[in-house]
Amino acid sequence: MTTLFGFPTQALFGQLLLGLINGSFYALLSLGLAIIFGLLNIINFAHGALYMAGAFVAWILLNHLGLGYWWSLLLAPVAVALFGVLIERTLLSRLYKLDHLYGLLLTFGLALIIQGMFRLQFGVSGLPYAVPAELAGGTRLPFMYLPTYRGWVVVASLAVCLTTWLLIEKTKLGAYLRAATENPALVQTFGVNVPLLLTVTYAFGVGLAALAGVLAAPIYTVSPMMGADIIIVVFAVVVIGGMGSIMGSIVTGFGLGLVEGLTKVFYPQGSTTVIFVIMAIVLLTKPAGLFGRSS
């Protein structure tokens, strides 16, 4: 068996891949959080719960309607986005004139409700979701074995992240969005329907979370608590990256996933806390975050 720095390469690259996969989820989730925060000024605590909801929608579609993975990849984000529209229209829109902290508290409450509902219905133990047949199996690379599905998750989320970046940076809709982030009142006077933009943005952000949930379903078991822990890590990711830049969220997400994977190889006990330690270091040296604009 070949080794690198005294560690078997198989384990090293395996953990790196797993880190990259976690990083994909961090990137997708922090991207959604950043877009929502940019426009709505609300930190969406329910993001983790909606990521979990995305995974559950996929499970329900498969087990109750017989719709497979590819349908879920399309339908689950749409379903969760529609739910997002409902949340934004009925609840969040009442808070825009208040302190941001109320948004955090309200979405925290929503997260508890959503998690509780799924726990009531499905119990706490995880439900398995099989890897789709098209993506089963794997390839033997010179240095490691690459399961096809894991490769797919990294490629797919990278593609989604980059598409979102292009959408925001290069299209007219994205230009409206960026303008409304800077100055909603002015954008509204130019005739852009800002309330609609807010709704669409929230729906898009939580849709991304649901997509991450579907991608995660075959890797982790689908369980009501799967969103609770990841959201706190994603908050740390957001603090490290700063929410000022879209590309910053993507890079930080993937980067921290990799760091976490490496820590699992070299110092397994520290793997759960390494991102928080990095956050502390970043706060000490660059409080606005790596890509943040200091105010």
Partner: protein
Amino acid sequence: MSVTAEPAVMTETAETQGSGPDAPIRPESRDAKRFHRYVMFAIAVALVLLPFGLYPIFVMKVLCFALFGLAFNLLLGYGGLLSFGHAAFFGVAGYVSAHAAKVWGLNPEFAILGGVAAAAALGLCIGALAIRRQGIYFAMITLALAQMVYFFSLQAKFTGGEDGIQGVPRGRLFGVIDLQDDRVLYVLVAVIFMAGLLMIYRIIHSPFGQVLKAIRDNEPRAVSLGYRVNRYKLAVFVLSAALAGLAGGTKAIVFQLASLTDVHWSMSGEVILITLVGGMGAIFGPIAGAFVIVAMESYLAPFGAWVTIIQGAVFVVCVLLFRDGVVGVLSRLLKRPL
């Protein structure tokens, strides 16, 4: 900051303005102070009478959570800082007190003080990091650092991991008074609670407290007046952490248990809920909030997942419709600050 004065557009001010709950600023008239003295007296009388009507363990639990809420509200209501990680101080103090009482065999008063010291030290570390950002980032940072403390508690040896520290002896107060009897222990808990309440009241009404309120309402102005804002923020953070530790340590002695539940993020959510229901920025708010929430949880305990759902619903309803909380509403009805 007041609700009505905030413009909808806050992209620029999001980071620069110290944001806090909408506690109205009222002049501290002599009348109000006298009224508060009556309220304090009423609370003291209630503390004497309550164990005759209610199960002492239940009242002690309420008092521990009320003190926890009071400590949290000192930070949120008067410092304008929303910590989403207060479970760390509550839980770690519980672990240290339990460990000190069980393994080192210390008297309960020293065990609890050890917990307070640990919570204060942890508060110094977490606070120093968290006050580097404001508003929503502050909340996220405290949450993340508290999660780190949770993972530490899960892995460290002395916390007992998943089992926690069980069978903590209540011991003898000052080496003399046996606390095994619930009624004797109740007196101790009531005294600790009252001391905590008086201390927080004193802090809020001290010159230090006035500066805190100034920072909460307009941080840039406080800076321009020459106050070292960050020192004040850190000081109130440490005080709040230490008092949360007092509550956590006491709870560990009362229930003879320190467990992961107390360091988990859901406990941080619970203390926010207690403060929200009682009324943010109302001095006596968390006491009412603790009664409501602890009673609700004891009542709903057999229904499992429903507890979380209802807690979440209470959050949503309070934020949308009931932002002043029970005591806030009462204060408006009586036209006196509470």
